[in-house]
Each structure stands twice: as structure tokens, then as C-alpha cells.
């Protein structure tokens, strides 16, 4: 069930955006404050909690033995899973993952996989039989919008937190992470672009665009969502916003 937003609130949010303002007082190109906390979970190899405004996401990374895929017998496996816990919102219900959770996991997966952030080729153990599997599990704790950005930041933060497992098959000096992909979402509300929409803004937006970039500003993943559309100019503007905001967020990973 989606939450119905009252017409009064909808009009109010749109009206504000028209004036270049936002419900929570931010500028259109301003992210909410992001707070990254690493190493909270001892049972995980790496973990991080990200607070993006009031949204809270916790990510745990586990390194486990697994069978390789037949076409890449010597490479490690990356698996990203997201749980929209019913704890996090009155609209999340227990049960099999909803399409939102699947989309969330897949967008994060693409950002990490397509940027070659993790050198999976180094995570083989025995060709065709045994490799390291990197499980990235995303637990959404409090949903006030911006889940993709918060989860992507928490995922990469958790990866930077990974300590090598105590296992005789682990031969590497450290976890082979070489890039820091960061996702930033831009929403379109009444033909204006706003960065990092909060939940109220997500409910009234026409469309959103998530762009994941790495350190040199190049793009490794894009996801458009929502019923509306973006013009060519808007796409370029969205990229400029997303890549510059990603730089700011990446600072939080240090």
C-alpha cells in the first residue's frame, strides 16, 4: 500500500519548488546531511550505517565460501540483497521482497559491479569449485526517502570497512576494493530538478534519476524511475548535480 498524500501537502510542496524552496528548508541542489558510521556489526566482515536526514540504512558485508558461476570458474561472486523491513515504514509489509526492494538491490549491485569496484578475479580459491562470495545485505531501518542513495553509500562504506576473514583460504593482504561508486538521486518536481528528495518529495515527484559515479566523475550506473520524463538538458543537469554531490558524499567515506 502506498501512502496517499493529501492534496494540500502536494500543492504546498510543488508551490515551494516553484519558488526554488523545499519543505525541509534545503536549497534545490542541497543533500540532507549524511552521517556514516562504520564497523558497527562484529558478526559481519564489514558494516556501515548511513543516516541521510532521517532515513537510516544499515549494510553488512559477509565473505563466504561459494561455488563459482560456470562461465567464471575462477572469479568471486557478488550478491546484493535488500530488505525493506516492516520496521522502517508503515507501508512496508512482511513477505517476499517487493519490486522496490529488488530494484534497490539491483541498482546498488550495478554500481559496484559495473565500476569493477571489487576485483572479483582475485577472489577465486579453487577453480570451478570454490570462490569467495561477497554478500552485501541492505537492511532499511527508517524510510524517509532517498533509499537508493543511502543504501549505496552504506554499501560502499561497508566495503571499505571489510576486514579479511580469518580463514586459511584467504590469501590477500586486504579486501580488493579499488573504486568508490556513489549514487545520487535527482528528482523532477514541476519541471525543476531537486537533489536527494525526501519522502514527501518522492511522493509528488514526476520522475527520478539515480546516477552512480566513481572518483573520476565517470558514470557506472543509471536508473530512471517514476512515470515522468527527463529532457536532454535535464539529463545533463542531473549528471552535473549527481557527480558533484557524489564527490561531497565520497568525502564521508574517509
Amino acid at each position: 500500500m502506498d501512502e496517499i498524500i493529501s492534496c494540500v501537502k502536494r500543492d504546498y510542496i510543488i508551490d515551494l519548488v516553484k519558488q526554488g524552496k523545499r519543505v525541509d528548508g534545503r536549497a534545490l541542489d542541497q543533500m540532507r546531511e549524511a552521517v556514516v558510521e562504520k564497523g558497527l556489526i562484529k558478526t559481519a566482515n564489514g558494516s556501515a550505517k548511513v543516516k541521510l536526514g532521517k532515513t537510516q540504512v544499515l549494510v553488512g558485508v559477509k565473505l563466504m565460501h561459494a561455488e563459482p558461476f560456470p562461465d567464471t570458474p575462477e572469479s568471486g561472486v557478488l550478491i546484493v540483497n535488500a530488505e525493506l523491513l516492516p520496521l522502517a515504514s508503515p507501508t512496508f509489509e512482511p513477505g517476499p521482497p517487493r519490486v522496490e526492494a529488488i530494484e534497490l538491490a539491483r541498482v546498488i549491485d550495478r554500481g559496484i559491479r559495473e565500476s569493477d569496484a571489487i576485483d572479483l578475479d582475485k577472489l577465486g580459491i579453487k577453480s570451478g569449485e570454490d570462490v569467495w562470495s561477497v554478500f552485501i545485505d541492505i537492511d532499511v531501518l527508517d524510510h524517509d526517502g532517498g533509499l537508493i542513495d543511502a543504501a549505496a553509500l552504506a554499501s560502499i562504506a561497508a566495503l571499505t570497512d571489510v576486514k579479511p576473514p580469518k580463514d586459511e583460504d584467504w590469501k590477500l593482504p586486504e579486501f580488493p576494493l579499488s573504486k568508490l561508486p556513489v549514487a545520487v538521486t535527482v528528482a523532477k518536481i514541476d519541471d525543476r530538478l531537486v537533489v536527494d528528495p525526501c519522502l514527501d518529495e518522492e511522493r509528488v515527484m514526476d520522475a527520478r534519476l539515480t546516477i552512480t559515479t566513481i572518483e573520476d566523475g565517470s558514470i557506472c550506473a543509471i536508473q530512471k524511475g517514476g512515470r515522468g520524463y527527463f529532457t536532454r538538458e535535464e539529463l545533463e543537469q542531473a549528471y552535473d548535480l549527481a557527480s558533484s554531490k557524489a564527490m561531497e558524499l565520497r568525502e564521508k567515506l574517509r
Partner: protein, 240 residues
Amino acid sequence: MEKPEKLLIDGKRLDGRAPDELRPLKIKAGVLERADGSAYVELGNNKVFAAVYGPREMHPRHDQQPDSAVLRCRYSMAPFSVEDRKRPGPDRRSMEISKVTREALEPVLFLELYPRSVIDVFIEVLQADAGTRTAGINAAAVALADAGVPMRDLVSSVAVGKIDGTIILDLMKEEDQFGTTDMPVAIIPRKKVVTLLQMDGHFTKEEFKQALDLAFKGCEKIYEVQRQALKEKYAIKEGE
């Protein structure tokens, strides 16, 4: 994990605790924005969130009770909360824990005040080190009070057990795994009645009584921390 030769050396446990000593306990009320009520509990290495939604409209409708609210509990463990990765979603163990958690909490709630509605309790274990169900109940009780749900009292919970022939309070993982007995208990502290009791292992009758006494003592301490957490949320901070 390898089995240690002894779990109790010179009257001290592996983490240095005395047999009747709780692990460090931290409780915070009102930690989640969206939930009607919430709490975070750290008990030793356990890290647990609880969120309460409701009373709210019951779906599906045919689950409604015409004369009272329904309490629903869902206990869940994050995939990264244990040494091996836990497959996400409910399994038989978590379904049973959800049920006994509900039954532990129901007796204190004035459910009859909210006909046809549902009160949802969600417990998420982020890091597990034995005693997650008791930590979850402690968190859920605080979260229910934080949500303003009318209740006769809080519910406090702790596990007791036996290692190397000695009755101990609040088992940690090694003691749970290699000890003789594990007995989670939940009580309504004011009335001194038990709302959850499970046990596996071995106790003589004397040991059982001794273990219950110890559980009641432990719960008293937990109760005080729970009450403090609720009061602290509204404490006026200096400088305000």
C-alpha cells in the same frame, strides 16, 4: 567456534562476569522516525531494534477481532547478524520466536481498548550473541510504551542457564552453545508473573527454582533500565 575446556574458571565466566551478572545493557527509546514507537537495545554483543506501528487498521479484514485489537509480532534476523550468513526472511525458528514473543507481551496490553485494529511489533536483530529473543522482548516492551499503547506494566526478559554445573544469568554465545541448559524467561515485574518460559537442556528441580530466582533478579535490573530509557526520552537536557 571451538569448545573451551571450561566455561567457568575460579567462579568467573569467559568474559569475566560473575554467574549472577548481566552483560552491559543499553536501552534507548524513540530511535526510529517513522515508527509510532521504537527502541534500541544492546545487551552485550546483541544489537536489536524494535518498532511498533499502531493500533492501526487491520488488513486483511477477516483477521479483525470485533472486540479487541490484535497483537502481531515479527522477529527477524539480519543476514549479517550471525557468523554464517542467515538467509533473509522467516524460518521455523524465527516464526516460533515471533509467536512466543507475542504471547510474552499480550498479557500487559489493554487490547480491548482498540476493537478491530492491529498493533504490529517488528524486531530486527542486527548482531546476535545469544539471548536475542530476550533482548527483542525488552526492546518491544519499551517500543510499545513509547508508542503510547496503554499497558499494565512493561515486560522484562532474560535467559538463565547452566554451565559447568553452575546456574548463570544472561548466557552469551559460548555458554549457549556449550553450556548444559538455556532457559529464556520473561516476566511482568510488578506482578512477578512469567509470560515467557522456554528451556532446553537439563535442570534438577532445585536448579530450576534457583534459575527462576536468578531470572527474576536479572529482570528487575532490566526493568529499571527500561523505565529509565522511557523517562530519559523526555528528560529536559541541560541548557534547554
